[in-house]
C-alpha cells in the first residue's frame, strides 16, 4: 500500500474553481507555479503582481500577497517591490500582450537591469480577455479578430520572440520557453519555473519563463485541437533554455 497519496493539492493553491475557459492552459501553469512555491518554501515571503488580461484574477487562485499593476507595468512594479524589500520574492504573471506589447519597455529594461525578479509570460498569441485580437506573438497567417485574413508580414510585421531577445541580455540569469500540452512538458515547465525562481533566490539576475499556452476559444478550436496546435507553435517558438548563467 502506498504510504502517501499520489495526488496532493498544492498548499499555495486556493480551493477556488478556475474561471478560465475549457482547455485554457492558465490553470495548469497556476498549479505548477504553486507546486514550485511550495517546494521552495516561498509562500510566506512571495509577492506577486496581478497583470491585466485573463490572469488578472490570479489572486483568486494563488495564496500569496498580491498587488495589481496597470497593463504592462508588472516588471516595473516588481522592480519597486524588490528594490524596496530585497528579502521578498517577487514574481509577475503576464500575457504576451501585457509583457511584450504595451509593457515591452518595462519588461526589457527590468531584464536589462538584472532585476532580481521572476517573470512568467503566458504566450497564447492573442489578446484573450478582449476577444482574440492580434498580439505581438501572433504567427504569420494566423487569423484573429484584427487580422481577418491572417497576419501578413508586410502589414503587421513578424511575431516577437521574447525568449530569444532576452538570451542576449547580460542582466538575465535564466530565460526559457516551455509548454504544458503534454505531461513531459508540464514537468519541464515545473523545472523551468524552479530555475527562474532560483535565479532570484541565488541573487543571479532576472528569471524568465515563457509558456506556450492554448486559447481554444479565441483560436476557434476545441480543447483537444488547441492542445495539439501548441505543437505547431513550437515550430515558430522553439522550446528550450535560451540563457542560463548559473
Amino acid at each position: 500500500m502506498l504510504k502517501e497519496s499520489l495526488f496532493r493539492f498544492p498548499k499555495s493553491l486556493k480551493r477556488n474553481n478556475f474561471h478560465y475557459c475549457p482547455g485554457c492552459h492558465h490553470s495548469l501553469v497556476h498549479r505548477m507555479l504553486c507546486e514550485v512555491i511550495d517546494e521552495l518554501n516561498l509562500r510566506e515571503r512571495a509577492i506577486s503582481i496581478a497583470s491585466i488580461g485573463c490572469a488578472c484574477f490570479i489572486y483568486n487562485y494563488i495564496d500569496v500577497d498580491m498587488v495589481e499593476a496597470p497593463h504592462g507595468r508588472s516588471c516595473s512594479a516588481g522592480t519597486g517591490i524588490k528594490r524596496a524589500r530585497p528579502d521578498l520574492i517577487v514574481f509577475t504573471y503576464q500575457g504576451d500582450g501585457d509583457f511584450a506589447a504595451i509593457g515591452l519597455g518595462d519588461s526589457l529594461h527590468a531584464a536589462s537591469r538584472g532585476e532580481r525578479i521572476t517573470a512568467i509570460m503566458i504566450n497564447n498569441t492573442v489578446y484573450g480577455m478582449t476577444g482574440g485580437q492580434a498580439s505581438p506573438t501572433t504567427i504569420i497567417g494566423q487569423k484573429t479578430t484584427t487580422t481577418h485574413l491572417g497576419r501578413k508580414p508586410e502589414e503587421q510585421g513578424y511575431p516577437l520572440k521574447v525568449a530569444e531577445i532576452l538570451s542576449n541580455f547580460e542582466g538575465v540569469a535564466y530565460a526559457a520557453r516551455v509548454a504544458v500540452n503534454n505531461p513531459k512538458r508540464v514537468m519541464e515547465t515545473k523545472k523551468a519555473l524552479t530555475k527562474a525562481f532560483l535565479a532570484q533566490l541565488e541573487d543571479k539576475g532576472f528569471g524568465y519563463v515563457e509558456v506556450l499556452s492554448a486559447c481554444p476559444i479565441n483560436w476557434k478550436m476545441d480543447p483537444v485541437s488547441a492542445t495539439k496546435y501548441v505543437d505547431k507553435l513550437t515550430k515558430i517558438f522553439p522550446l528550450g533554455v535560451f540563457r542560463e548563467t548559473f
Binding site: C56, M66, V67, E68, A69, T79, G80, R85, L88, H109
Partner: protein, 361 residues
C-alpha cells in the same frame, strides 16, 4: 545651532523628503527638477534606501506603486509632460489606496511648451490626476522653506489617508535659491501593519486590487474614496493677510502668491483696503475659509484671482464664494511674469469699480 542653508526649491524638496522619511525614489530626468533625482541618487543609498532611474515616467510611477505596496515611503518627481505620462499610474495608486509623494515642478505647456514658469497643471493636479473619480491631496508651496516643510509633511499625510499627495510648484520656486532652515520636523510614522504586503507569514494572503466587476462593490469603493477626500478637509491650509475692512481680496497660490503678496502689502501701506489670500492646500481647496471671510466682511465686494495660466484656480474661487462677491480672473500665460506693480494696477482697477460702478446685488 540652526541649520540654515542657501538652496534651490527643488533641493529643498529633496531634503524635505529625506526629513519626511522617504525610503525609495524612482524617477526619470526632465527639466526643471533634475536636482531632485540627482540628490536622491546620492542620499538614499547612504540611508539604506532605494534609488532607481527608470526608463520612463510610466515605469517610474509603477516602481513607486510597488514600493508603496510593500509599505515603504516612496516618491517620484517630474515636470508637466512627465506628469501626464504618469497619470494612469496615479489613478491606480488612488484606487489601490497606496500612499506616495509626487512632485510636479510645472513647466509651460501645452505639449512640449517650454521650461518657463507656469501654473498650467492646476486643473490636472486638483481635478483629475488620472482617469476615474480619484483625487490627490495637493500642496502648493510658495517658498523654499515651505517646499522643505510641506514635502516632509506630505509623507505623513499620504500615509494617514492612504492616498497620493502631490507637491505642485513651478520653475520659479524650483530654481530659485533662498535661505532655508533645515528644521527637525516631527513627522509621524503611521503603521501599515494592517494592509502592506509583507509576505503572507502567520496570516492569510493580502490582495491590493482595484478591479471590481460587481457594480455595487465598485460604487462602494468610490464612496469610500469620496469619504476620504471629505476627511482631508481637516488638512486645509492657507495664508491670509486681512483686517476685516478689505474691499478687494487678491487670491493667488505658489510663486504667484509671493508676487501678489508684495503688491498687496505695498497697497496697504498706501492706505488701500485690500487683502491677500493664498491657498496652500489646493485640494482640498480652502472653500470654507474663503466663504467665511466674505461672511465676516460686508465691504468685500471683489476677489481678484491672479494665476500663471489662462485661468484655472479662479473656478474654485467662484465655487467657494458662490456669487457673494465678484470674482475677477487676471491670468498670465507662461512666460508673461507680472511685476508686483502690474498686480497693483489690477487691484486699483477693481477698486475703481467698487467705488464708481453700482454694486452687484
Amino acid at each position: 545651532m540652526t541649520n540654515r542653508v542657501l538652496i534651490k526649491g527643488v533641493e529643498a524638496v529633496a531634503l524635505g523628503s529625506l526629513e519626511g522619511g522617504c525610503e525609495c525614489y524612482f524617477g526619470y530626468p526632465i527639466t526643471p527638477q533634475n536636482e531632485i533625482p540627482e540628490i536622491m541618487s546620492v542620499e538614499l543609498p547612504k540611508r539604506g534606501g532605494a534609488f532607481v532611474q527608470a526608463e520612463s515616467e510610466t515605469s517610474a510611477i509603477n516602481m513607486v506603486l510597488g514600493a508603496s505596496a510593500v509599505g515603504k515611503r516612496a516618491m517620484t518627481s517630474s515636470s508637466s509632460p512627465g506628469i501626464s505620462l504618469m497619470s494612469e499610474g496615479f489613478s491606480y495608486l488612488i484606487a489601490l489606496e497606496l500612499p506616495c509623494v509626487i512632485v510636479n515642478v510645472m513647466r509651460g505647456g501645452p505639449g512640449l511648451g517650454g521650461i518657463e514658469a507656469s501654473q498650467g497643471d492646476y486643473f490636472q493636479a486638483v481635478k483629475a490626476p488620472g482617469h476615474g473619480d480619484g483625487r490627490f491631496l495637493v500642496l502648493a508651496p510658495a517658498s523654499c522653506q515651505e517646499a522643505y516643510e510641506l514635502t516632509a509633511k506630505a509623507f505623513e499625510l499620504a500615509d494617514r489617508y492612504r492616498n497620493p499627495v502631490m507637491i505642485l510648484m513651478d520653475a520659479i520656486l524650483g530654481q530659485m535659491k533662498e535661505s532655508t532652515v533645515l528644521k527637525k520636523l516631527n513627522i509621524k510614522s503611521i503603521s501599515k501593519d494592517d494592509w502592506a504586503l509583507t509576505g503572507a507569514k502567520g496570516r492569510g494572503s493580502r490582495i491590493i486590487k482595484s478591479l471590481f466587476l460587481d457594480s455595487a462593490e465598485l460604487a462602494e469603493r468610490n464612496l469610500k474614496l469620496k469619504k476620504k477626500y471629505e476627511q482631508m478637509e481637516k488638512e486645509v491650509r492657507f495664508e491670509s493677510n486681512l483686517d476685516g475692512s478689505e474691499e478687494v481680496l487678491v487670491c493667488a497660490f505658489g510663486s504667484m502668491g509671493r508676487i501678489a503678496k508684495e503688491s498687496v502689502l505695498k497697497l496697504r501701506e498706501k492706505g488701500y483696503r485690500v487683502g491677500y489670500f493664498r491657498p496652500i492646500t489646493i485640494f482640498p481647496f480652502p472653500k470654507k475659509a474663503l466663504s467665511s471671510i466674505l461672511e465676516k466682511n460686508n465691504s468685500l465686494k471683489q476677489i481678484l484671482v491672479v494665476e500663471l495660466n489662462c485661468g484655472q484656480m479662479v473656478e474654485d474661487v467662484m465655487v467657494s464664494v458662490c456669487g457673494k462677491a465678484e470674482v475677477i480672473s487676471k491670468f498670465y500665460p507662461p512666460s508673461v511674469l507680472p511685476f508686483p506693480e502690474d498686480i497693483e494696477r489690477e487691484v486699483k482697477k477693481c477698486l475703481r469699480k467698487v467705488y464708481f460702478v453700482s454694486p452687484k446685488v
